[in-house]
């Protein structure tokens, strides 16, 4: 992370020695071990460039009128990062929030550290480093004041953007000190003094989103809103079967249509020889004076495709193959503890159940789009991407240019959910712009978006559980049937060997078998966890009922004593190590706030279900109350959530919004969403068949944060996984029917 503030009178380029970097180093055993590495800053400076009244550097500019401009480094996808990260800097800089202006940083990872939106990682990666950025800036301003007054630094204090020397009654606002401070040596970020959190004035306050005024008045903000002089509009038709190629198309007829600027076949083989689904694909581009004209021309498009090798795959076929694979032994094991077969034989009760879940699309409300301008071997982007750096790398590879010749301006993003961690649209937009020699805005329609996604992989789990006479869980087995692409597991189609209840049951095995898949897959909000939460926490509920135990008590008994279960690789990794005590506490809290103990007094066909899940460093326990009508319709009555994400909620308004949204997102998917594959292609094309949650379905969601002594962690994802099993467990409590397959089939729940 770079520098805070810099003297820019000479506008000299930054040298490497001025930079510090955030590093995420791969931990042994997979996953990411996140740490901020604060390289010694040779110098961080700031200044007010005379005349312009500004200094320019990575994060902070202070103007003579005391207006502080803070750059927000990460893409904003609705997770609130554009507001939250600057709050952290502003707090330690000790300025008033009303004097802060926020700008979106462009892609420049040498200056800003890693810039991405994913994995709920912004808080754990940036909270401490950005506090230090703010604190270093404050320290430099104090030093400048102290030197000017010829008093010890220790006699000065700051408040609301002003340095005070109480003994002499002198004070100076930051705006008057910025230029002097810029010439001072930069303090070592590792040793700057941070505020006592008890004195926070910005962190911990409910701060509304900085773009709200523009959002509610309809000002341009999003990728789709970008307009560049001379810009043309493009549509791009790809083969409905993934990886299919173009044999021929009626290009001449398209070119003759009024308003069409150009139409051409894109052949991707040379640019993407391995057929990487994240890269450029074959298709037909139509470029016109407006998007509507291009879309109308597309209605006349006739393409003969070579559909390729996966055109026979189907969701139905996968289910049949999975069942068949389960008749045999798993192809491999993620872990084998004890002797499951013997333990099941001697168990007092054995429960067996087959669970499955479908492919899911991200359904970002803003369809995929990208504006690119290729000119003289360089490309400028205005891109709604969650991963701008890898996007630039993909484009460099696709076009055979250097990443140094690529500029990425990050736009606000109308929903990410993981879809925009893939940058296929950037490769397409750049390719089309190069071909037509003009800036191009590529915009997909809803069908494109739903049928060319990187889907949450479907999956199949065949469980067995054994209980002893006292109802204690003694044996647990899962045969997970998932997908491979080539020789590797499909993207986001894997399971961790430490999945709960691993290490807590003496006889436990997780077996795995795979099927070949042509459908591209990828991370969807709380990847893996969004499906594993459903199957594991639902099956645990089945076991609790078989044991005749309260589902809460049964879970607490499995968690047992408070301790950290270090993952089975033996190398500590906060993303994979599981603190039973933290989970115990959120379970107990959610039971309290949801009146769990009184759940039996609910009306007929109304039930409460409970579930928990640990993901993205967050501990979440959730209770859903649902009512099932005689027709089988599921009504969501109420959701209670207890969460432990550490010592500090940075922006409570944003935090609650994230948690509520994540829970409702999971509920919407469970009730109305599936992507079906037939003949190698996606059946669904719009919101009539893939149903997002709507207003009348949305229940109140109560959020309770426990404050604990752990470092603050992220909130975009971890509230989602437990809500689906909590709902399914509530449906069981209401009806006695167990949901083992998603989306929930109301026909199964009819009286």
């Amino acid at each position: 992370m770079a520098a805070l503030l810099t003297a820019t009178r000479d506008r000299a380029p930054f040298s490497a020695s001025r930079r510090a970097f955030l590093k995420a180093s791969a931990a042994v055993g997979g996953g990411l071990l996140l740490q901020a590495t604060l390289a010694p800053l040779a110098r961080v400076a700031m200044a007010a460039a005379a005349g312009e009244g500004l200094s320019v550097n990575a994060f902070i500019r202070i103007a003579p009128d005391n207006i502080v401009t803070i750059l927000s480094k990460n893409p904003e996808i609705g997770q609130g990062i554009k507001t939250m990260l600057p709050m952290v800097i502003a707090e330690e800089l000790d300025v008033e929030w009303k004097n802060v202006r926020i700008e979106q940083a462009p892609l420049d990872e040498a200056k800003f550290g890693r810039q991405f939106a994913g994995g709920s990682q912004a808080t754990p990666l940036n909270y401490d480093p950005l506090r230090r950025v703010g604190a270093a800036g404050r320290q430099m301003l104090v030093t400048a004041a102290a030197q000017g007054w010829n008093v010890p630094v220790g006699e000065c204090r700051t408040e609301a953007g002003v340095v005070h020397h109480d003994k002499s009654g002198r004070s100076l606002a930051y705006g008057a000190l910025a230029e002097t401070a810029a010439a001072l040596p930069v303090p070592d970020l590792a040793s700057v003094t941070l505020k006592d959190p008890k004195t926070f004035k910005i962190i911990g306050q409910r701060m509304p989103g900085v773009d709200n005024p523009k959002i509610v008045t309809g000002q341009p903000l999003f990728g789709i809103d970008v307009a560049v002089p001379g810009m043309l509009h493009a549509v791009f038709q790809k083969c409905p079967v993934f990886g299919g190629t173009v044999k021929s198309a009626n290009i001449d007829a398209l070119k003759a249509l009024p308003g069409v600027h150009d139409a051409f076949i894109v052949r991707a083989k040379e640019a993407n020889p391995s057929g990487d689904p994240q890269g450029l694909a074959d298709g037909v581009a139509i470029v016109a004076k407006s998007w509507w004209v291009a879309s109308q021309a597309r209605e006349k498009l006739e393409v003969i495709w070579d559909e390729g090798a996966t055109a026979e795959q189907s969701s139905e076929g996968f289910a049949a193959t999975a069942a068949k694979l389960n008749e045999g032994a798993p192809a491999s094991y993620l872990r084998r503890d004890g002797d499951v077969a013997t333990a099941l034989k001697s168990a007092a009760h054995v429960v067996e159940a087959a669970y499955s879940y479908p492919f899911l699309s991200h359904i970002d409300l803003e369809p995929q789009n990208c504006t690119a301008h290729y000119q003289d071997g360089k490309v400028t982007f205005w891109a709604p991407t969650q991963l701008p750096g890898p996007g630039a790398a993909l484009v460099a590879k696709t076009l055979g240019i250097s990443t140094g010749d690529i500029t990425v301006n990050m736009t606000r993003i109308g929903g990410g959910f993981g879809r925009r961690l893939r940058n296929d649209f950037m490769a397409e937009a750049a390719w089309i712009s190069r071909q037509v020699g003009a800036p191009v805005k590529l915009l997909w329609n809803r069908r494109d978006d739903m049928q060319h996604d990187f889907y949450r992989p479907a999956g199949f789990h065949f469980f067995k559980g054994g209980l002893d006479k006292s109802g204690k869980l003694v044996a647990f087995s899962d045969h997970f049937v998932t997908f491979k692409r080539g020789n590797a597991l499909a993207d986001s189609a894997m399971m961790d060997a430490n999945e709960f209840p691993a290490q807590l049951v003496p006889h436990l095995d997780y077996g795995q078998s795979t099927m070949a898949l042509g459908v591209p897959t990828g991370p969807l909000r709380a990847p893996r966890s969004n499906a594993l939460g459903f199957v594991f926490q639902s099956f645990i509920d089945e076991l609790a009922h078989k044991a005749g135990k309260d589902p809460l008590a049964f879970r607490l008994a499995i968690l047992g004593e408070r301790r950290v279960l270090v993952n089975s690789s033996g190398t500590p990794n906060a993303l994979r190590d599981f603190d039973t005590g933290r989970m115990h506490d959120v379970l107990v809290r959610v039971a309290e706030v949801s009146s769990w103990a009184h759940r039996r007094s609910l009306p007929k066909r109304t039930g409460k279900g409970i579930a928990f899940y640990f993901s993205h460093l967050g501990y979440f326990a959730e209770v859903v109350q649902a009512t099932v009508t005689p027709a089988g319709e599921v009504k969501l009555d109420h959701v209670w959530i207890a969460a432990d994400v550490g010592s500090q909620i940075i922006n409570p308004s944003g935090a609650e919004n994230q948690v509520q949204g994540a829970a409702l997102d999971g509920l919407g998917a469970a009730l109305g969403q599936a992507i079906t594959i037939d003949r190698g292609r996606v059946v669904q094309a719009n919101f009539d068949t893939v149903k997002p949650l709507r207003m009348e379905q949305a229940p109140p969601v109560e959020v309770h944060f426990l404050t604990t002594a752990h470092p603050p962690t992220g909130l975009g994802e971890p509230a989602l996984p437990p809500v689906i099993p909590a709902l399914c467990n509530a449906i069981f409590a209401a009806t006695g029917k167990r949901v083992r397959s998603l989306p929930i089939d109301s026909a199964m729940l009819k009286v």
């Binding site: 407006s290 329609n445 919004n657 949204g661 719009n686 919101f687 949650l693 009348e696 949305a698």
Partner: protein
Amino acid sequence: MPYTIAVNGQKRTIDVDGDMPLLWVLRDELDLKGSKFGCGAGLCGACTVHLDGEPVRSCSTPISSVGDAAVSTIEGMSADPVGKKLQAAWMELDVPQCGYCQAGQIMSATALLTKNPHPTDREIDAAMTGNVCRCATYTRIRAAIKKAASLRTAATEVK
């Protein structure tokens, strides 16, 4: 062919095909980017505008069908007393997450409160069901509509 429509109180003339949806006329011909494209089929409400005060899905409204109707978009809501109160409530309660759907939400909510200043929860559901919020900010949307309804009452009572 040329069409003249009244958008936010201003006459605008555009020369486009009659089947071009109002949404694309607004966005690409008149540079009013506030109304959003989500589904192209009237299923998500991101493109909601008013025709003579009635909420319509502009993605499925051909320009040839607009005629003399007064078109109001999110860009005109700051000049609409109800729209303005809703915008204020949206900001006060910090409704948006990604924000992409919110223009359409505010347009539907403005049409609702203009006709029905004190809607019940069920009436809010009925008026807002066509507007998808993929981030699911529904709890806050509902609260903001109620907040704006109460602001409106207060203003009326002062008079």
